[in-house]
Subunit: 279 residues, 2 copies
């Protein structure tokens, strides 16, 4: 495993939850909380690449994951610095490499599915068709239930303000346990998954031992990102679309949907799930 | 009011709900239903513009609304035909105009907020800052409750498969009533709102007498699209982000959030709501 890349990163913070006064249906004033949403424009070697709308909880990780998933940077080692500045709502990324044809990389746009979407450049769809995850590892029913419970009790922006999606990534511990590595919320689930992807990239973590959880639906885009990271398990509290399922079948990804309490539904590759006997 | 534009449109249909076999947490097989999701690549006068991921319930309306909201076509009168072909997952749009610089129009990308996002080209944000909706009209509490109930009882893909967002548009009828004009579901709420926008454009309906409802959150993008359509009322079953609220304040839009049963919360411009006495 390579040493952790030496990236100079800002640690820009911003208020995530805001109190606002509203009226209820009887005209009575009450206070409530809503999540922030701000624009963040990414500049790659001074070239404007994209403007993302984000909660802003982990902007450096988001930038890193965006660059990774859009294939705009090949390795974290290529990045010299990421400086996020909320005064100007911008993220300046400086690379160590000579110039790359950013125009060519960003010429093809795909607007992906609603709740948890993003824009994917280039031939990501073609790339996916080449991915088949190896069989294994397995995850026990107890570990799945423990994972769902750890999400339930986790402190969150969602509990304070609603209106955000969470993504989390876990590692297996022993036969029946899991450990939460990262939990990230954003107004866009595509941002949350990109942020997690960025953190995994930075830590040089291979996806093959990881389990990915999201509160949002597993649409084509989410499954593509999971397959790109090489994560064999995608779990959601929500549902799955047909293209999400088809992509999971093609890439041999295990999908668990409607995860809640002790319940879940296995949509693909159930061989990776070990059921408890006598349950 | 101008005559309805003469556009030759296909009426492409495709299965929206799919039955799949899953395993529950005890390993028992069961059947469930999930929504379709497919790609639709828009070609404008033979130039590839974008690929949208969509449920596919109203592809021609989606194309029309996308072209409207991205400002790629100025008027429905400029469109000669829209031909959607699900064999090739493409929509061919032919205009009556001479060539326009599509490259210039599509050069700036904004990836908007997750659940209900999209890509907005050009200076839409700047355009919004010039919009201020006029005061009025008003909507009574009874009409709001009737609207929420009509959504509740409406037949939907959501009831059959979950995992889709709905958008609907209503017209006021008398002092306390509303009439549903269109109800559209999609895997992306940005697609659903674009589709509604397309239908309103085609019918040459001004937004000022309309009420817009969505099951998704009112993020910046949704409020921008509402303001662009000139709709004074945006209602959601879900929540609001801070930028959504700020944009509503700037454009004088009335926002009702957490609409459920007889309940709702007014986030902005409550002057447009007439409360029932003694409630």
């Amino acid at each position: 495993m390579a040493a952790k890349p030496n990236i100079q990163m800002s640690s820009a913070s911003v208020p995530l939850v805001h109190e606002v006064e509203v009226l209820d249906e009887a005209g009575r004033k009450k206070l409530t909380h809503i999540p922030g949403e701000r624009s963040l424009t990414i500049y790659l070697d001074k070239r404007e690449v994209v403007t993302l709308m984000t909660l802003g909880s982990a902007p450096e990780a988001l930038v890193l994951g965006y660059l990774r998933n859009q294939r705009l940077v090949e390795s974290p080692d290529d990045i010299e610095s990421i400086q996020v500045d909320w005064e100007t709502d911008s993220a300046a990324v400086k690379t160590r490499r000579s110039t790359v044809d950013i125009d060519a990389l960003t010429s093809k746009r795909v607007v992906t599915t609603g709740c948890g979407q993003g824009t994917m450049f280039g031939g990501l769809m073609e790339e996916i068709s080449a991915i088949t995850l190896p069989d294994g590892p397995q995850l026990s029913q107890e570990a799945i239930v423990a994972l769902i419970d750890s999400i339930r009790v986790h402190d969150s922006i969602y509990k304070r303000s609603g209106s955000v999606h969470a993504c989390a990534v876990f590692e297996r511990v022993g036969d029946h346990g899991v450990e939460l590595l990262h939990f990230i919320e954003d107004v866009g689930r595509h941002n949350a998954v990109d942020s997690i992807s960025g953190l995994m990239w930075l830590a040089n973590k291979s996806g093959k031992d990881l389990i990915f959880f999201t509160t949002g639906r597993l649409t084509s885009e989410m499954v593509i990102k999971g397959a790109q990271m090489g994560v064999p398990f995608l779990l959601t509290r929500s549902g799955v679309t047909l293209m999400g399922l088809e992509l999971a079948r093609k890439t041999n990804l295990t999908i668990l949907s409607r995860c809640s309490g002790k319940h879940f539904e296995i949509y693909n590759a159930p061989e990776r799930v070990i059921f408890t006997k006598n349950s």
